[in-house]
Symmetry: C2
Subunit: 491 residues, 2 copies
Amino acid sequence: MPSLREQFQPIFYPRAVAVLGASRHPLKFGFNYLRALKEFGFPGRLYPVNPELDEVLGYKVYPSLAAVPGPVDLACVSVPARAVPAALKECLQKGVPGAQVLSAGFGEEGEAGQRLEDEVAAIAGRGIRVIGPNCFGVYSPAAGITLMPGSEFSREPGPVGFFSQSGGGSCDLAYMARGRGLDFSVLVSYGNGCDLEAVELLDYFREDPNTKVVGAYLEGVRDGRAFFQALKRCAREKPVVIYKGGLTETGAAGTLSHTGSLAGSLSAWTAAIRQAGAITAAGLPDLVECLMACLCLPEFTGMSLGIMAGGGARNVEALDAAGHFGFQVPAVGSETAAAIRPLLPPAGGRAGNPTDLANPVLAPGAIGPIMEALAREPAVEALLLYQAIFYMQKEVRRFRPADAAAPALKLDYHLALAEIAKKIRAQTGKPLLLVLPDVASDPDHLEMEAGRREARRHYTQNGIPCFDHAENALSVLARVAARNRRAAKRP
Amino acid sequence: MPSLREQFQPIFYPRAVAVLGASRHPLKFGFNYLRALKEFGFPGRLYPVNPELDEVLGYKVYPSLAAVPGPVDLACVSVPARAVPAALKECLQKGVPGAQVLSAGFGEEGEAGQRLEDEVAAIAGRGIRVIGPNCFGVYSPAAGITLMPGSEFSREPGPVGFFSQSGGGSCDLAYMARGRGLDFSVLVSYGNGCDLEAVELLDYFREDPNTKVVGAYLEGVRDGRAFFQALKRCAREKPVVIYKGGLTETGAAGTLSHTGSLAGSLSAWTAAIRQAGAITAAGLPDLVECLMACLCLPEFTGMSLGIMAGGGARNVEALDAAGHFGFQVPAVGSETAAAIRPLLPPAGGRAGNPTDLANPVLAPGAIGPIMEALAREPAVEALLLYQAIFYMQKEVRRFRPADAAAPALKLDYHLALAEIAKKIRAQTGKPLLLVLPDVASDPDHLEMEAGRREARRHYTQNGIPCFDHAENALSVLARVAARNRRAAKRP
């Protein structure tokens, strides 16, 4: 039996893809998947299959899989549910090693669908690995393949491995992650998971050298015991973040009709995920932030913060969040306060921990030495800077209203601050976390939002996690630090 | 003694403002406040006062308050803390009825500062009402006055009354609220609150006919008993939303150094605010969403939802949120399901409650009848639509890449949907809530974010509250409905 990586190779890195159920109809998956691969720029051989067509989107269409000249790595199946077993048997005859079944109408639609799904699973057991049914397939930027509706995903491969029972959730996640500077090794939308599912995907990502962190959206698993063993194996090697949907009684009803999954109870899942050494996420946005923090802070274990914020309410907000999630904000020595005081604006500031910067727009030349002073305190393990970039940009606009150099000035600010943070981290091991609040929510403030997004991406790509609120930042940091402590304790 | 409204009139609607401590220095409050009023377009008389200057920002400067010709309604004091008592005594002599003291350096700076603050309070008792010290002042769009850094605030008056011990928090809130279509009657940043504070502000907003909902950011109050009585009085008449900072032990340390306030305990405050009939908010963004929901749903009391979402994971997310916050999602009759089924796309949808729309981009012509069918179910009290507008805009862009009419098409969509929702509400009393998730977080997706913001503002201005996540939506709805139930029960 080939190794897991050998089994997955043709599905995640196919060189030749056949689309069974190719279509010209713009509402059919068999059209949209072809279009997605074309627009995404799949560099391999693409074989649409449909006995009734000659050509679609400029590709020659083959009457059957048997008629396709040369080998096929991955079959993308989008024929009606009842025709799926026959299509997969064609794949077996042709020697196609992997398939993804986009078609819906299986276990999620009751008993008759479940019988069809069992038939698919049985065929898979005869020598073809199947992703799906009821899924959007695989997004593998290194191989140039994408989800059925993912033609605009990033072409950049990255360190995040992700698998999801939801296709829509996979798309949401891919777009949200990109905004945080995160790219993917492989993203798998696997729907009902009748053959390949969580256990093997965890084992795969554990072994995959391109994957540094692993995330998943799950509705249910076939074998809870096997899943938690695989989760434990994977979480020993890499951070794993799990968002489990359907954990309320009300929500569980939804998983049954979505991917036919039995969801289980909230407390049991949460405790078991944590015991396996993984991180639980409370939704897709939270999952993205956990993955970002895992990548930015792979070894961080501290629970003691130095806090800097411009304005009293922002300090109170950060302190309240620290209190909620069990962080310490230790008082600093009088020498530290004395070093910070002359760096603050003339009025309204306060040197100490937290340091009230008085102003949302303090220059890196002033913030840098304050960060250094706090980082020199032995009890401080991480720095949290609450930066109201919105106000900074308003000031930039005010003082340079007609100056083409203003955008450069804005980016300069963040480049300088990130450099200082990296230097402090290299010298002391103490990371910086940023809170860039989403104040500019008005349609008229889009220019400000553009700056926030550019800044956020720049920071996250430089190992500085960025959050919208102090509450998110410290909720995520507490879980990541707890995960890292557990990982560090292992023999 | 003049009534509360008479006492507040000169502060909230001044026709002549004197700025004591006017300055030419761009870092001084005495310069920035003048500039703010000038840029905001204060239509009244403006008298800078400083014995050392002749002119600033084009205004004639007076050597003393006594030298100002004619009456002054509001004195804005930005002299150093130690000179504030003398400045207020000048106000008394001139017969100025109200002052706002921007200067810091009072109770928040320890014992000596507290003595100075007590002196200010004593002077206030002799016949001048004082906002502050250590504040940003009053924003009153109808009168053309604004906070010290609020020159770019909206000029539109609106139904929200807000008071805050934090100046920075006030600015954040004003900008965040604007993005949700909310404008202000009066917004008061009152800092340490040595004279006018929460009790009288609650009484004022209770009486003010321009104020429909009241919000507050508090760090502490002078007299807890009087505060809760005033809160109860106000909450009987109008929805009141309170965000109390410093409710963790860690956070309480911050309130002491910010506005010199003793913060109190989390459980005591939360219970007391609720018992008084008000709504507790968990932060400024949550407070904005609660105010928006209060305005959109002034009488809504239901706990039973009809849910519509395009895609299984989004349905599961909405159902889980419903479960977390105690909502029911009742099954609907087979006739309702039969009415919905033909309106869904050919594959992947599911008629019922929730209805899986299959597609994030369903036309109003299809969504409208689905909403109507769900609203006809007696057990359904509100409709929740999870709308991935990001994907809709991508589709619009795809099919009309070079067409100038595309933005109009987008807005048409929302206009049509809002009209349908308003019609259903008028006929059945059942409101629509929207979740417009923040998927397009990438710097490259700003055009999509623009559409989300335009849509959000259009919906909220039409009585349809919009949220970023189902979790926020139902957390806020549960609190607003509970508040409305309590209000409805009163004799």
